[in-house]
Amino acid sequence: MAQPLLRISDASKRFGGVQALDRASLVVHEGEVVGLLGENGAGKSTLVKTLAGLHQLDAGVIELDGRSFRQGNPRLAREQGVAIIYQEPSLFPDLTLAENVFVGRQPKSGGRVDWSQMRARTASLFADLGIDLDPGRLARGLSIADQQMVEIVKALSLDARLIIMDEPSAALTNAEVERLLGVARRLRDQGRGVIYISHRLEEVFQVCDSVTVMRDGATVASAPIAEVDTAQIVRWMVGREITEMFPKVPAQIGEVILSVEGLSSTGEFHDISFEVRRGEIVALAGLVGSGRSEVVRAIFGIDPITSGTITMAGTRLSRHTPSRAMAAGISLVPEDRRLQGLLMPASIAHNTALTVLRRLRRAGLVRIGAERRLAEEWATTLRLRYASIDDPVERLSGGNQQKVVLSKWLATSPRLLIVDEPTRGIDVGTKAEVHRLLSEQAAAGMAVLMVSSDLPEVLGMADRILVMREGRLVDEISRADATQERVMTAAAGAAA
């Protein structure tokens, strides 16, 4: 083929102690859809953000159309012909679709914004891609799939040469994915280059002309799609041995604590049934957006369910709310500790005691001494590193904040502990401590339900692995049978 549209070679980028990109390379030709694949943290996002003008490489070369690509400025990136379609687009809900396409550069005639020209140009771009939307309607209430279409049209109105779709299908229905893939093909047929990022291998095989696989910041392999199969791609993606140590303590697995039957929530998940037993750690694996977090939120009573039953230790929970869930012995450590788990300016003691204030009261007033003693006990158990128990939690490191969240929920002595991504974004040392703690709690008779995207963690910790895909439970794997390939294949939805 002729000179490529995009050529990235030897790209390296370091964030503090993390080598996000390590001599990565990527080539995209005109009229080609390239599937960019890799596990979370493989470096795809860093590469995309560099092309978006949000990061600057420490070393390496990026050439677009044979010219050196000027980095580090989103506006400049756009002017050089790069457009990015994100998984969650951010349109202006109060503006019309036409204005969303042309915002900041509305066509003018005689000094005034030319609304009819704007609508006409948007309508013709919609027609080019076969999109059936009224340019005059407001963006408010548009489905995510349609919002992405508007973003794509915006990219075309800017005459983007290279269009990057960053996990565009994660939140789409099957019909919407079909339309998206159709649009990607049209863009290719117009001679543009498309980078398609997705964890769903089916789609990659449907739409991509070639694949590039990344791992640990480096490019592992690039090949035309015809020369690879699912098994090969999964091997490239996983590739490494599990080296981390998981201090799994053997536990006596006892009676059923949580039993979920036929749990459904329209648009989120469908017909989910499983059990968690005393002393058992059950992992809920799957891709981001597969409905894992939604299921545990429903079990904790945050989100409503449309049908199904939740039974705790033989008692069916009805009219489910978080306070009833807590009363029944369930605790949930949420994924986003900054937003949902902690009161950042409040002290370690306050945060720890928050869930058990009722127990610490005397005559309606919280006993400060009891609060501090409780927090100190947990801080010792969890080996929390802190100066004073009265320090605000915002001063702690991410790992130590996670420990405070854990102690806050462990303080309620739950019978079922649900943890959502318990070790995301924390350092390896603390991670091992969190693992040790979960394992010890299970050995002491607690039931643990863990949502995690970290495959080594899932394999190392879980007695049983439930895999979700597109809102359904697709596989159940015992500890003995679990391999990264099997989990990944079930989650990505390709028959290996």
Binding site: P74, R75, S90, L91, F92, P93, D94, L95, E99, V103, G104, R105, Q106, K108, G111, R112, V113, G136, R140, G141, S143, A175, T266, G267
Partner: protein, 330 residues
């Protein structure tokens, strides 16, 4: 064209305008004294100042900001012009305009710089400048009272004049609101304000200079507040340390009732003008129907809550409709 007609029907200003017309008709039916047109004229005179101020305030509310300092600025300007006239045996139009623009711009620059560049919350900043300017005003005014005989003839002439039966004061407010609506709907500067209010991070991402727009809108609003000080003087031919006291919340109420949602991203100056007239018309109608003044205020407050609730309900219903559509089998 039916498309054009339905677009007009969807405008946020339509329900308020309909409510206003219904209200005026009802009042005219129930109270014969209102039919002469004098009642309407009184409503327009009373709402002019609020509508004038709402033109600038709308820009800020569209961007999810607010400026409560306008009543102090307007009051101070009206007193300064009156006091200068009293000390110098009269004052010219250009001199008055200079005072209005200078004082208004100064307050606007302070508000704008603190909000746009230091990222302080506009509610807090402008409550601060509301009291700050009122404090300076009290110091300057002391016990001084400017009365009609100290003011030049053109002040009273504009205050009581009318064009084709429409009070001058209202004509001035109308012109400003029309111009501002054109700026809001037909210039990139104006469209940027809606983008900022609709999704602030996305606005920055598409390259809109958010801070500059915020700063400019605050300065413009300050200048409008300064000019409103002249309207205040025209209206009352009188100024002391209480001039303009408390009108800032009526301005905000007029905007909200007129469709400029406090959540940002929607509404126009024309809508705010209609809101100002409606607010005044209700007070007036209740008075004409013999309702006591205490109840008139309560009703004005209830109307404000109603306007917000109405907006919320409409939004909720349209979201529900969309969700139902999304769940329907394909």
């Amino acid at each position: 064209m039916s498309g054009g007609l339905s677009r007009v029907a969807r405008l946020r200003e339509v329900p308020v305008l309909s409510a206003l017309i219904v209200l005026l008709l009802l009042t005219a039916i129930l109270n014969p004294a209102f039919r002469g047109g004098e009642g309407l004229k009184a409503i327009l005179i009373e709402s002019a100042l609020i509508a004038f101020l709402a033109a600038g305030q709308a820009n800020l509310i569209i961007m999810r900001h607010i400026d409560l300092s306008v009543s102090s600025t307007a009051g101070l300007v009206s007193f300064l012009i009156g006091n200068t006239s009293m000390n110098n045996m009269g004052i010219s139009v250009p001199q008055s305009l200079m005072i209005a623009v200078a004082v208004g711009a100064a307050v606007g620059i302070v508000n704008g710089a603190l909000v746009a560049y230091l990222k302080l919350p506009s509610l807090v900043v402008t409550i601060g400048t509301l009291y700050l300017v009122r404090g300076i005003f009290n110091y300057l005014a002391g016990g001084v009272t400017v009365t009609a005989d100290a003011l030049p003839g053109w002040v009273a002439a504009i205050g009581s004049g009318s064009i084709l039966g429409v009070p001058d004061l209202f004509v001035i407010a109308l012109i400003l609101c029309v111009l501002m609506t054109i700026v809001q709907t037909s210039t990139r500067w104006g469209r940027d304000l809606y983008a900022i209010g609709s999704n602030p991070p996305a606005a920055a991402r598409v390259g809109i200079p958010v801070a500059h727009r915020e700063f400019a809108a605050f300065v413009l609003n300050g200048i409008i507040a300064g000019l409103a000080g002249m309207l205040l003087l025209f209206r009352f031919s009188f100024a002391d340390a209480t001039a303009g006291l408390g009108i800032e919340l009526y301005v905000v109420a007029a905007c909200v009732i007129g469709g400029v949602a406090i959540a940002g991203g929607v509404g126009t100056a024309m809508g705010a003008l209609i809101g100002a007239v409606l607010l005044q018309a209700i007070t007036f109608a209740l008075g004409a129907l013999g309702v006591s003044q205490f109840w008139q205020q309560a009703v004005a407050g209830a109307l404000l809550v109603l306007a917000i609730a109405f907006d919320r309900i409409v939004a909720l219903r349209s979201t529900q409709r969309i969700n139902r559509l999304a769940e329907a089998p394909v």
